[in-house]
């Protein structure tokens, strides 16, 4: 066939150019196949890009928080709020002592009614002397209280004017940006001379010292003559009260000295803004006095809830993994594994709802049962607390821990187990001495990843943890688990919708998010590192 022969001759004549090469189209200097490879490679980069973007945006939105917080603290100092707070701390301490006294009264009343068997009226009559004493004690602070409320008004006024000025400056800036020069010039800003204004506040120090002296004198009189109480245990409490009050009186000169040496012009370093966030014990927003963005209550809450969850989930998850992998029959294995995986598919918001509707109420009722009264913290009144959230988070962490731990146990070489049996070890000895130690690295990393899951969980803690922003009272011992808490994830979910973008509160939430992000990354890092470093391999 002539046409064919001509074509082969063409190919033969140019031996270097195969047909397959001729058809290669070039696109930007790349062959079609290389283009495809680059396309897929680019897609693979998406994960890196996303991680970078998350970091970038969290930093972008969060980083200026520390500057803003510094301004926030600077104003607190410049306007004299810090000075007034030194005095107000005394007032607060005094109020706490009054509360202590009220607690003693309640106990005495109970003693009269329950142990002596008096009717309530009679008990109150016997407490008349005590009530008079408590009232005198409460009134002792009247002299400083008056002064402090005046000072508070002065300080808030300075702060309010400063904030007004800031708003006006912003308005002027906007008008200028819009090109309305005349209107911008018409915006009148009255500058505040902080040292002069604050001098008004600090000049009251001698008067305050006088009031403070009379306060301490009346306290001393009161401490010297406490009312008599019928029971040694109650008397001991009163003794403790005297001790506390004496310590309180002893702190007076110190407070006065710090008020004396207080200086509004001391600049606030950026490090203080940083430590006020990380170690701050108050998260107080939209307050008329002073906003605080301290992450400690949130971190403590997150830790407490996660700890409860892990205490529940680790024994259950690891135990179940050992059981399913080593002890269960094949039928059980086939059923249990998917069933536990199925639990992990229960959406967290449904679990949160379950906590509100069923578990919280159940735990509250159960805490009232008399045979459970030995449990620390029982009975409790709030149905939404760290324990409720912790139980549900435990259920969320169990499938993660179970799946990963089961994998780790499954990866232990068969020979280990067989050698152990051959040496005459029983099944349990093999599990505890051979299987678990060999897979320990995997189990630990499973627990770390479970912890990461729990710390990052939002809906359950938002719905069930009680949302009280305060550091849980760890002096209650184990009973701390029944206190309501707020968490890092919960605060973001709760407040993000209500804040104004760009404001300090908005940025504070982003810094909390950044903190969460890094906690997750660190946990992930350690989980991987532990697996790699301590992996037991054969040979």
């Amino acid at each position: 066939m002539p046409p064919e022969s001509t074509e082969t001759s063409v190919v033969d004549s140019t031996a270097t150019s195969f047909r397959i090469q001729k058809e290669r189209t070039q696109f930007l200097g790349l062959t079609w196949d290389e283009c495809i490879q680059w396309f897929f490679g680019g897609n693979a980069l998406v994960a890196v890009i996303i991680l970078g973007l998350i970091t970038f945006f969290l930093f972008r939105e969060g980083s200026s928080f520390f500057g803003q917080n510094r301004d926030n603290i600077t104003i607190y100092r410049l306007a004299g709020l810090e000075y007034v707070d030194l005095g107000r701390q005394q007032e607060k301490d005094h109020a706490a002592l009054s509360r202590y006294l009220a607690d003693v009264r309640l106990r005495t009343h109970q003693y009269y009614t329950v142990q002596v068997g008096l009717p309530a009226k009679e008990a109150s009559a016997r407490l008349k002397e005590f009530d008079l004493y408590a009232e005198r004690f409460a009134r002792a602070s009247a002299s400083i209280r008056e002064q402090l409320s005046e000072l508070s008004e002065l300080a808030t006024d300075i702060k309010a004017r400063h904030l007004e000025n800031q708003n006006l400056a912003e308005k002027r800036r906007q008008l200028l940006a819009a090109g309305k020069k005349d209107e911008a010039a018409a915006v009148e800003i009255l500058p505040i001379d902080f040292p002069v204004e604050v001098a008004v506040i600090t000049s009251t120090l001698p008067a305050y010292a006088e009031a403070s002296a009379s306060f301490s004198k009346s306290l001393e009189e009161l401490v010297a003559a406490p009312p008599a109480l019928p029971d040694p245990e109650l008397s001991a409490r009163l003794g403790r009260f005297q001790e506390l009050t004496r310590a309180f009186i002893a702190s007076f000169p110190e407070t006065l000295a710090s008020m004396q040496s207080w200086d509004a012009t001391v600049p606030v370093p950026l490090s203080q803004s940083f430590s006020a966030f990380i170690f701050g014990r108050q998260w107080l927003t939209a307050s008329f006095w002073q906003d605080w963005y301290g992450a400690m209550p949130l971190i403590a809450g997150s830790m407490l809830v996660s700890l409860i969850a892990l205490v529940l989930a680790v024994p259950l998850g690891v135990g179940a993994a050992i059981y399913v992998n080593q002890l269960a029959s094949p039928v059980e294995q086939r059923v249990i594994k998917p069933a536990i995986e199925f639990i992990s598919a229960i959406p967290s918001v449904v679990l949160g709802f379950f906590g509100i509707a069923v578990l919280g109420e159940f735990l509250r009722i159960a805490s009232g049962w008399s045979f459970l009264s030995w449990v620390p913290g029982f009975p409790f009144a709030e149905r939404l607390n760290a324990l409720t959230a912790g139980c549900l988070l435990g259920l969320i962490a169990v499938p993660t821990i179970f799946t990963l731990a089961e994998d780790a146990i499954n990866n232990v070489p068969r020979a280990f187990k067989e050698a152990s049996y051959a040496l005459g070890a029983s099944r349990l000895q093999t599990i505890i001495r051979i299987i678990v130690p060999a897979s320990l690295s995997g189990i630990v990393s499973a627990i770390l990843l479970g912890l990461g899951r729990v710390i990052g969980e939002t809906m359950v803690v938002l719905l069930c943890a009680g949302n009280r922003i305060a550091i849980p009272d760890f002096t209650a011992g184990l009973g701390v688990v029944t206190q309501p808490v707020h968490t890092m994830t919960g605060i973001i979910a709760q407040e993000m919708g209500e804040v104004e973008p760009g404001g300090i509160h908005y940025r504070a939430l982003f810094v909390v998010g950044l903190l969460l992000f890094f906690i997750a990354l660190i946990l992930n890092y350690f989980a991987q590192k532990i697996v790699r470093k301590y992996k037991v391999s054969i040979g």
Partner: protein, 359 residues
């Protein structure tokens, strides 16, 4: 005491008792997990099922039957007493009833009756907009996640060699998997909602959810691709096919079922998450359905109602009582059912495929 049958027979003794006790402890742990799971699901199903089954209504025209809980929008519930009868009505019904009663009273010359109703938001009507919103969110997010994830997995399994670059990518994927969902929500809010100015919209929700589920999809797809035997690729390459032809004709078709089934677990996760859509895509309440938009472009830039967010709203923002219980449990039940259906089908399919594809 009877003699032992042979020297290897199990002996009764302290050690053996100990052993069986500890085995029972492990068994108890396993079944405790299962029981608590069953209890949660059972409780929600039992209390939520009536909300769905009690709201079937007959219709005049075609489908002849409808379910008011599934196919209607949420309304406020009004509870009031009228002539000694306690009545519960949805918003629309209550208004027309009030008008009718007032008209009747004035016609008969009676004084206009007073209506004192206690109202509970969202407690009447149904959850149709939430179901629609969730389905839309899942569809869009999974499309994006599958496109990105599968291509990424193809690169990692087919093209990549062990280099620093590839190890870096794997590290990023691993770390991305551990990022808390609320952080994705924050990121989506900062980037899509504020920086791109998409507002609270489907688009923002899609991308946020897609990014969140990406590691799951990549890992699952890579495993499915790796499961295709090397011989398939080598045979194809030996016959002169290019790399892409090999992947397209001889690798992807065999990996596809695996990719899809494992990705269904990703769908369950996308459908179940609330935190990422809280500030990116979800509205507390919206009157219009998503397709009721004036022009096509608006479709992508509208917020929607979503089931998980609706559960959050009805369980935290309205009180718990006999009137609100129906909608609370009902929504949780429908949502749980939806997620269970997705997750269950994935587990079933995987078990089935494991048997079929063995080479």
């Amino acid at each position: 005491m009877t003699a032992l049958p042979h020297s290897f027979a199990p002996r009764r003794g302290f050690q053996r008792r100990c052993e069986s006790t500890i085995a029972w402890v492990f068994r108890a742990a396993t079944y405790a997990i299962l029981l608590s799971g069953v209890f949660v699901i059972g409780n929600i199903c039992l209390k939520g099922l009536p909300a769905v089954t009690n709201s079937f209504r007959s219709l005049e025209q075609f489908p002849y039957v409808t379910n008011t809980f599934l196919f209607e929008a949420p309304e406020s519930l009004y509870v009031f007493e009228q002539d000694g009868v306690k009545r519960e009505m949805g918003d629309k019904e209550y208004r027309s009833y009030r008008e009718a009663e007032t008209a009747r009273a004035t016609a008969e010359g009676r004084p206009v009756p007073e209506f004192k109703a206690a109202s509970y938001v969202y407690a009447a009507g149904g959850i149709w907009p939430c179901i629609v919103g969730t389905v839309l969110l899942v569809l869009g997010a999974m499309t994006i996640a599958l496109l990105l994830g599968v291509s990424s997995a193809i690169f990692l399994s087919e093209y990549a060699r062990d280099s620093v670059f590839v190890r870096f990518i794997r590290l990023a994927i691993l770390n991305l998997a551990g990022v808390p969902s609320i952080v994705f929500g924050l990121f989506g809010f900062a980037m899509f909602v504020l920086f791109f100015d998409w507002n609270v919209s489907l688009m923002a929700g899609w991308f946020t959810l897609a990014f969140m589920v990406l590691p799951v999809v990549i890992t699952a797809s890579e495993e499915a691709l790796k499961a295709v035997p090397k011989g398939f690729r080598e045979g194809s390459l030996a016959l002169g096919a290019t790399k892409w032809q090999t992947i397209r004709k001889n690798v992807l078709p065999y990996a596809l079922p695996g990719i899809l089934t494992s990705s269904i677990l990703g769908i369950a996760r996308v459908a179940g998450e609330t935190a990422p859509i809280m500030f990116t895509a979800a509205y507390v309440v919206r009157d219009k359905l998503p397709w009721e938009v004036s022009k096509f472009g608006d479709f992508f830039f509208q917020g929607v109602m979503a089931l998980p967010y609706h559960i959050y709203v009805v369980s935290s923002k309205i009180p718990q009582n006999e009137y609100t219980q129906g909608v609370q449990y009902g929504t949780a039940f429908v949502f749980l059912g939806l997620v269970a259906l997705i997750a269950g089908s994935s587990i079933l399919l995987r078990n089935k495929l494991r048997g079929r594809y063995q080479w």
